[in-house]
């Protein structure tokens, strides 16, 4: 059973529908006890890191999540679900995040162009990962974001994207996987990536 965390994110259902479409057995939950019992955890998201952290704290998941991830439970974070893995975020004032990966969530510099980035952009593989198995390198995925994870550990980065600057689009290391794009809205290759992740954790 894969637990999908319901903390009020607007696109929860999109993530649920796409995961179910590729065959996942899901439980949508906001309870730490359900996460303890899950085989894997998905944190979907759209929105701000501060709101997301506040919601996770209110649900008493902000301490449970790092503990479970450090214990080896497979985890997939999507968009803001990736960003909260960082140590801190600059969105609406510097504030701490879950601190699972070293780095800071930063706003795109203004010179990159339109912010937020909205649309399909290419993901270039930069490390071998089963998540991209069968997906042509440079395939486009759907992004909607103004902030990105500026990570201090390049070994975590499995895929990069260029939007005026290069930023991590896909993280994968051990049991932690995360996408800045929305695989649930990225058509064929997005579904393929979700299928790859489910296979790797079940």
């Amino acid at each position: 059973m894969i637990a999908v965390i319901d903390y009020g994110a607007g696109n929860l259902r999109s993530a649920v529908r796409a995961l179910q479409h590729v065959g996942a057995h899901l439980q949508v939950t906001d309870r730490a006890a359900d996460l303890e019992a899950a085989d894997a955890i998905v944190l979907p998201g759209v929105g701000a890191t501060r709101d997301t952290m506040n919601a996770l704290q209110r649900l008493e998941l902000a301490s449970a999540l790092p503990r479970l991830i450090h214990a080896g439970v497979p985890f997939l974070g999507i968009c803001v679900g990736m960003q909260v893995l960082a140590e801190q975020s600059e969105e609406w004032g510097l504030h701490p995040c879950l601190g699972i990966i070293p780095g800071t969530v930063r706003r795109f510099p203004s010179h990159v162009g339109k912010i937020p980035q909205i649309g399909w952009n290419q993901v270039m593989s930069c490390a071998a990962t089963p998540l991209l198995a069968g997906i042509p390198d440079g395939s486009a995925f759907y992004f909607v974001h103004s902030f990105y994870v500026d990570t201090l550990d390049p070994l975590l980065v499995a895929g990069r994207t260029d939007y005026g600057i290069q930023f991590p689009a896909l993280l994968h290391s051990g049991n932690v996987a995360a996408t800045q794009f929305h695989p649930e809205k990225s058509g064929r290759w997005g579904l393929h990536l979700l299928r790859n992740w489910i296979r790797s954790v079940t």
């Binding site: 607007g10 162009g113 339109k114 937020p116 649309g119 486009a140 992004f143 649930e184």
Partner: protein, 261 residues
Amino acid sequence: MLTRRIIPCLDVKAGRVVKGVTFADHIDAGDPVALAALYDREGADELVFYDITASSDERAIMVEVVEQTAAQVFIPLTVGGGIRTVADMYRMLRAGADKVSINTAAVLHPLLINEGAQRFGSQCVVVSIDARRVPRSHPTDPLRWTVFTHTGGAGRATELDAVAWAKQAVELGAGELVINSIDADGTRDGYDLPLLQAIASAVGVPVIASGGAGTLDHILAAVTVGQADAALAASIFHFGTYTIAQAKHFLAEHDVPVRLV
């Protein structure tokens, strides 16, 4: 590099696509879910359902159409037409739309943009602007455009300048703008490129060109000369003049970054 988007728009009335065509592959051209799936397979970057129904019964059917589509098609889906309140927005987003598009309601109640953006995020709120050129007394006068509302019916002129309204909509929280030229709509003579340029250079959010596409060159011009981030088109795809894939390959041949599937 961020790609330019091609977005087919389906007019839906009481759960059926109007202005439909006969497609190969035994597609029911009146079935919005089947057409959405077809366009997805062809490489559409997003889909827009425009609800041209008026009654609340038919609006309930639209919710079902959105639910069925979202269960089968995994690209961004925008629903427009008849959305007047935050509750209307919520209903469509909960059904599976990723964005809602508002037009007349935004002109009548600009704070609706702000309320929607606060509640759901700017990325969910698309403001669609119907604009018509103001006749010029001299050819050297600058071009200006007036915003129209109720364009599903007879259409009503407002006092609003289209560029000023576009800026205001973005300040209020619009995440994207659809710029529809009433002059060009249905002509198949091409998008209103000066209108697109004027708005694209005035705002910092994506601009989606609408109205006038008749050839692939028109789409190319919209995303190059017109500086639009995306091109929305209806009839050239529905009537089978071109496929989405043909449009994508045409843009790629002209060095426009596109997503090829």
